[in-house]
Symmetry: C2
Subunit: 218 residues, 2 copies
Amino acid sequence: MAPVTPDLRVCFLGDSFTAGVGDPEHLGWVGRLAARSARAGRPLTAYPLGVRRQTGVEVAARWAAECAPRLSGEWDARLVVSFGVNDTTLEDGAPRVAPERSVAALDTVLAGARAAGWPVLVVGPPPVADAAQNARTADLDARFAELCATRGVPHVAVHAALAAGPAWTAEVAAGDGAHPGAAGYAALADLVWPHWRAWTAEADPPPSTPTPPGGAHR
Amino acid sequence: MAPVTPDLRVCFLGDSFTAGVGDPEHLGWVGRLAARSARAGRPLTAYPLGVRRQTGVEVAARWAAECAPRLSGEWDARLVVSFGVNDTTLEDGAPRVAPERSVAALDTVLAGARAAGWPVLVVGPPPVADAAQNARTADLDARFAELCATRGVPHVAVHAALAAGPAWTAEVAAGDGAHPGAAGYAALADLVWPHWRAWTAEADPPPSTPTPPGGAHR
């Protein structure tokens, strides 16, 4: 079967926000971004790989096994990573994951993707209906941004803009306190869009013999 | 964070059709089915796990590791499985996977899901723009239906109806010869819908201590 050209394939790794939980239209920000990209002349195969409740440590534990069968091959393979809100959730009075461990988890994914030859775009964690948690999440995202700058990886901060805009916070408050609906996800997709456009407009990575991370089966 | 209730979580395992390849709206049949289910009062978390070019053997190799982190937990966890077209694709003059191996792959998934306590719905493979391959796929799907009947698992045959209807074949012919566009995927979602509705209307499986397949991390 002939591939749909141009052949861009992107794994979207993350948590419930990446999975679009709460969106009755079942597009989330990932589906909206992908559809807009196609309309703008940059179609892609989007593999949404968000898992509810997962922290960065949990995402880092599965990312390689799940990306290998989807990205290994002769195409423009890329990775979008977004996590952090579950890391800063309190359990027994402490965050589920300490910030330095969350940063180390992100660095694990970045290093593995670099070794495999897959460009990465990092999308920062959004706010929820809990001011204290949002402060922890914003701090963590600043650390993510710092790491990304060090590694030469683009990072999209969405936290402050979503907290300031009307759609996200209203839908989160009307929903389960964490997840927005269709308008909130559309707002998030809009924030990512210019960064996505610049990132996917870059030349394909140079031909190489990529080293698939553990778990590759072909 | 409070869960979105009622808490139904479904993994959709398969190939490029399950991934919705070719749909500019990035919903595919999975997104359309999930959105319709939500509108009908049965919201769910849908985890789309289709991977392009994968045969049933390849799906069976990854299904457990990918479903465990998504389905293991205290909710109504289910599995929709759909593959077969890549199995019947010729490579060097022979199908990529012999029919008995495709059937064995499906049975592997059914047995694992039964052990884990996850109900399964099987959706048969659709037609492409190749009459000879379609004949092989229809034969394979008849074997799938037979296995499902033996195992007491619902099976939805979509091949003949899609081949006879206008949307699917026209879009496949206008596309890459395998994948439809939005209307074709809508037609497929419509065919699955009554079976989905009956299947998800069933009482939740009885409380049990499920045995997650290999790879479970919680």
